[in-house]
Amino acid sequence: MSAISCELTVLEQTAPAADIRRLAVQWQDRSHEPHAGQFYMLRAWAADATPLLSRPISVHDFDERTGALTFLYQVKGEGTQKLAALKAGDTLTVTGPCGNGFDAAALAKAGKIAVVGGGIGTAPLLLLCKALARAGARPDLYVGFRDEPYGLEAFVPWCASINLATDSGVQGHHGLVTDLLNPADYSLVLTCGPMVMMRGVAKLCAAAEVRCLASLEGKMACGLGACLGCTCHTKVGPKTVCKDGPVFDAQEVFEL
């Protein structure tokens, strides 16, 4: 599904954690609906205002019935600070849905599935778990956070189990999320999080000969495959994170 560019209205913005925001907007175009793993280029400022580039933010949730489109993001710099200032009724410009995303219907046929997330990398995993559950493959969720976890309650209806690790030990296993995961128990592992975490997951999966798909992040200008600013050098040649990805076969992108 190709991307369109339009202005949307904010339904609500909440703060699940100090530097985390959940932004819900009203999606209008029924012929271009997003699926799990896709993202949008968000811009809550004028074309001639700073920062120059729009910010790529993954789809956290989408309600096909109401068209409510939700993003979960971390406030880091000028762009996300401007997004964080949005209030209900405000408008923003979005381009999307962008990227390949996860083909949940096809993946659900794989058998037993583990979904592994770290920090704000859990954002695209909610819609993924939901889509897998609806396709009859309720996954086991493994999540790692530095400290207090956020957003996990939303996963409860869609996951067979939720396995939590924190760096600080404040909740769940005191250590890495990869300590909890045994890929041999699964026929497919889907992951999104810090590169170091995803590389660890990919390594475990390679050793267990289990297929692993990883959703990458990239600095990008267009989000459409036009600028080649987000190119990722894979074993099968250069690929755009924005259009060929963000979901890749982990074996292709990580040196294991």
Binding site: L53, T93, G225
Partner: protein, 302 residues
């Protein structure tokens, strides 16, 4: 209603705005975003004969009103473009500008032969990419070097040949005169400005190549000065580009004498920039009783 068409090198462009190379893919990327039939053309991602993976490390960096890039001419190669991208580019409903930047004269000649045989509307010969070590900008600094490659390419080029210049040419007027004398049918300028950024935390340049190309509104007035100089130096058409974000920006280039304009970085600030700018030009013309672009082209020169 104003008439926005441009007669350019024997073709009729629907409007004066062309998507600039490196910012517009090969066109289909924007097909669902805006009506590409309103554009004057699409200049495709810069090609090299054999293709290349582009640069490693950071490729993008934002500056005040600007964007630095170090893509390094990542492209699939001329034959892959002809087989896989050109058919869809032709379906975009606008003119096809194949942008080519060879590492050697021989590569440029061979690439142009292949592209002309495959059927493109224009060749835009890029002698101005700042992000590749060999070729690219090497032809774009000294007028004599540019003249040599343009003459060689012109001999085999069966479609109109546009030569895209670098702002780093030793002298813009001398460079323009040299490529005109060597057979260029038009000139486009300018490509990005070589620039630098330092990562304070790493105490190193942001880009692996140290320098990268700066584009966007930050460089627009300098680009406009260069387009002014180019128009004054040659009698062939000049395509103006550099930081155009609005219809008013584009009109400045046209009043300086540009035949048409290209829009690049603005596509990243507003994916509908090309069509929005086209609309804004028309609105300005309507408000000022200007019926055709011909009436105002070069009017600022007195």
């Amino acid at each position: 209603m104003s008439d926005l068409h441009v007669d350019f090198l024997g073709k009729r462009l629907a409007g004066p705005v062309v998507g600039a190379s490196g910012t517009f893919g090969f066109g289909p990327e924007y097909a669902d975003i805006e009506d590409l039939r309103l554009l004057g053309g699409i200049s495709g991602k810069g090609l090299t004969l054999h293709g290349q993976p582009g640069n490693s490390g950071e490729r993008l960096y934002e500056t005040p009103s600007g964007l630095m890039n170090s893509i390094g001419l990542q492209n699939p190669g001329v034959q892959h473009f002809i087989d896989h991208e050109l058919p869809a580019m032709r379906q975009c409903g606008t003119t096809v500008w194949a942008n080519l930047g060879g590492h050697t004269i021989e590569e440029n000649v061979q690439g142009v032969e292949m592209l002309c045989a495959a059927g493109v509307d224009f060749i835009e010969l890029n002698i101005s990419c700042p992000n590749v070590k060999q070729g690219g900008l090497a032809f774009g600094i000294r007028a004599a070097d540019a003249s040599e490659v343009v003459s060689a390419v012109k001999k085999v080029c069966t479609v109109p040949l546009i030569v895209k210049l670098s702002p780093q040419a030793e002298s813009i007027p001398e460079m323009c005169k040299a490529v005109e004398a060597a057979g260029a049918d038009a000139i486009s300028l300018c490509n990005t400005f070589q620039a630098c950024a330092i990562d304070l935390e790493k105490c190193r340049p942001v880009f692996s190549n140290t320098f990268a190309g700066l584009s966007g509104p930050a460089i627009r007035p300098i680009a406009l000065r260069m387009v002014w100089q180019a128009v004054g130096a040659v009698s062939i058409p000049v395509v103006g580009l550099g930081g155009i974000l609005t219809g008013r920006d584009a009109l400045e280039f046209i009043m300086a004498g540009a035949a048409c304009v290209q829009v690049g970085t603005a596509n990243f600030m507003d994916p509908k920039a090309c069509t929005r700018i086209t609309t804004e030009i028309g609105q300005w013309m309507d408000a000022h009783g200007v019926k055709t672009l011909e009436e105002i082209r070069g009017c600022a020169r007195g």
